[in-house]
Symmetry: C2
């Protein structure tokens, strides 16, 4: 999807506003050159203010991206593209993020056992505005999200405890990593696999092509 | 899924009868210790002999596994578990394997563009028979397959040519790699992502647990 654009992207300063090793890996795999600037945005938005869960993920991604954008705006070589993302898991109207502790991970995974949940990743792409508007907007911002349904295997409490003991669940939204040991626990998905890892790769590529097409 | 079994598996000599780097990666990621013995089975079965495409993939996987099993059967330390797999892509009743050349890859990907196809991986697990039958069967063999639907993005001929020029399609069934650049071309999947990479991880874990449960 991105190949026709790769020669253009090579000349750009691209910033991934996320410290997630999975996002880094996905973007490295497709051959993108970028720097990482983890955002210091504290994820403490009031979930109840958002009518739907994905809007919460998009707003988190937006705030993370803008924090990094502001920080780098006075840079002598400001970025040409900033990428921000936030991933949440939802089931029965409840939003699940990274587990607070092992007990929290156990509760999440016990609820997911044998059932389907949804992973949302909010994605924000920010490029410098070539014609800043009257309110001085410096960035053109694209916001969107992608959802993927995940069907988990039936898991016994013993299996969940043993999985938690591997340490894999603790830094991951929903308490599992589909790309690792957690992959054996996933019976199937509907949608973009990379979205479950934390980055909606196909949608990202599609939106990026549109952004650079419209700048021509 | 496999954690309760991991202590048992650590003591076993496990052979992956496949030279695929993707299969190696998937099994390494879940912490399995195994050796690789690529099969020399020539994949030249007559596809028309199989009523359904997945049966062809299962038979390929079976022949690959048995070739390696025979080769290692006189080993002083014979294997405790052999794993064989074969992956094919089907659409409109046609079976697609690795592209013969770049033109073949171009034709495959052009057909897949904007449409849904199905990936089948046949998987074979062979363990030594503790009570060999009257016909002297040395192995207990489990055969199964897993299917995953893949929806490809609309791709222009230019995009397909540029993707082929990266070299990624040539050694992969269906002419694309979902875990690499090809991931940007996949709009979504239904089923096990790892199955599209060439190894149905969840099903493998489930069947392996059953095999060792029944040996208790």
């Amino acid at each position: 999807m991105l190949q026709p654009l790769m020669n253009v992207l090579k000349t750009k300063r691209i910033i991934l506003a996320s410290g997630s090793p999975r996002r880094k890996q996905i973007l490295t795999n497709i051959g993108l050159k970028f720097e990482i600037e983890s955002s210091s945005f504290e994820e403490n938005l009031d979930k109840s203010l958002f009518p739907e869960p994905p809007q919460y993920a998009v707003e988190n991604a937006f705030q993370k991206t803008m924090e990094v954008a502001r920080r780098l705006s006075s840079d002598p070589n400001p970025p040409d593209l900033l990428i921000g993302a936030d991933t949440i898991v939802t089931m029965d109207g409840v939003i699940y993020e990274k587990p607070r502790d092992e007990e929290d991970a156990f509760n999440m995974l016990s609820r997911f056992s044998g059932r389907q949940h949804t992973v949302y990743t909010g994605l924000v792409l920010a490029t410098p505005e070539s014609n800043p508007g009257p309110n001085g907007d410096k960035f053109r911002v694209s916001k969107f999200y992608e959802s993927t349904d995940v069907i988990m295997a039936q898991m016994t409490p013993e299996l969940i405890r043993q999985y938690i003991a591997t340490g894999e669940p603790m830094d991951k939204a929903g308490g599992y990593g589909i790309q690792g040991l957690g992959g054996t626990l996933v019976a199937g998905i509907k949608g973009d696999y990379f979205n479950v890892m934390g980055f909606p790769l196909h949608r990202f590529a599609k939106e990026l092509v549109q952004i650079y097409e419209s700048k021509k």
